[in-house]
């Protein structure tokens, strides 16, 4: 069955079609939310909410406008951005109340912190031969550098280089023009180069 047929079945309330679509698209959505937010319970909540939206708003998907994967990534992206904005609002409220973030409360760098902890977990899981260690150091440096980028820049890099979308598709997911996306990617790459060279200089 094609995706259009499966979506038509979902609109009719066919749960088997829904499950087929979940199995086909959950890995990519899960990777994207994990890469953007750094994993954890919130990431899983967002992935779950994305597929709930697939079920409730299936009739709004227009196959002539976007591929299903693009549409789902757009839903997930918007949920991630909403989540990050809520986090920032909580931090601002806490700092107005107490002049300092409350202990155990979400901090401004919690998103970066979650990404960093994901990187540490990642490095602990890897094999330890000499070549692998060097390659892993490079990848960890890259992931650390990615964590320092703004959400928009990180999303642009993740969509184009990790999720495999074209510039046009990534721009549609982020709801920006292709020129704006290219600008984001260029600035993100500049930031990554600076970070990677700084890491290299620290090592030597």
């Amino acid at each position: 069955m094609s995706e259009e047929e499966l979506m038509a079945a979902v609109i009719r309330g066919d749960q088997l079609a829904y499950q087929t679509l979940v199995r086909a698209h959950l890995p990519a959505i899960n990777r994207y939310t994990q890469r953007l937010l750094g994993g954890g319970r919130d990431t899983e909540d967002i992935a779950q909410e994305t597929f709930l939206r697939l079920w409730t708003t299936a009739a709004r998907w227009d196959p002539d406008k976007a591929k299903l994967s693009t549409w789902l990534h757009r839903i997930a992206h918007n949920l991630c951005i909403d989540f990050l904005r809520k986090q920032k609002r909580v931090v601002l409220t806490a700092s107005f109340d107490e002049n300092n973030p409350i202990e155990g409360e979400i901090t401004p760098s919690s998103n970066v912190g979650a990404l960093r902890s994901a990187i540490v977990e990642r490095s602990e899981q890897q094999p330890t031969s000499a070549d692998n260690i060097e390659q892993e150091e490079e990848l960890n440096a890259l992931h650390s550098a990615l964590a320092t980028l703004s959400e928009a820049q990180r999303s642009a890099i993740l969509l184009c280089h990790f999720q495999g979308f074209s510039n046009k598709e990534a721009a549609a997911i982020m709801n920006v023009s292709v020129q704006a996306l290219e600008s984001l990617i260029a600035r993100a790459k500049r930031g990554l180069r600076v970070q990677l060279e700084a890491t290299r200089n620290e090592d030597t």
């Binding site: 749960q15 199995r23 009739a59």
Partner: protein, 136 residues
């Protein structure tokens, strides 16, 4: 063979290629926690789904909004949407007068033409008499 990290530092021209290669490698090497993924998949598949059938009014409103929303190839729909208020006004105004008095129809006036002519004839006579008196 140069590693991507060395290449990044070597020359500005190779920056993009080396960085792209590193990004590509990172995308391929990114591991997935099979256990966590299995748990998430089970969670998504087992979540309770609300009934698909929506109220007819909601569906109708959504369909109307979608139909009227600007599409690059179908600009006439937006124009039509913009003219909807005046068309609606014409239709409503044709049936309801909202207490505003309107002129009588032509046929109703036609019945009193005789009276009108009679009144006009008096006016003309008076005027003629006055004119003839003045000339004398």
């Amino acid at each position: 063979m140069k590693t991507p990290k060395q290449s990044i530092a070597d020359s500005p021209e190779s920056h993009d290629f080396a960085l792209d290669a590193l990004l590509e490698r990172a995308a391929l090497a990114d591991p997935i926690d099979a256990q966590a993924y299995a748990r998430l998949e089970a969670r998504v598949l087992s979540q309770s789904l609300p009934p698909q059938s929506r109220p007819f009014v909601d569906t109708l409103i959504d369909s109307l909004i979608e139909w009227f929303a600007p599409h690059p190839q179908l600009r006439w729909r937006s124009v039509m949407a913009a003219t909807c208020p005046i068309l609606l006004g014409i239709v409503i105004g044709n049936f309801y007068h909202f207490g505003v008095a309107t002129p009588e129809p032509y046929d109703a006036l036609a019945n009193s033409w005789d009276d009108e002519f009679a009144m006009l004839s008096y006016t003309e006579v008076t005027t003629l008499e006055l004119d003839s008196g003045a000339s004398l």
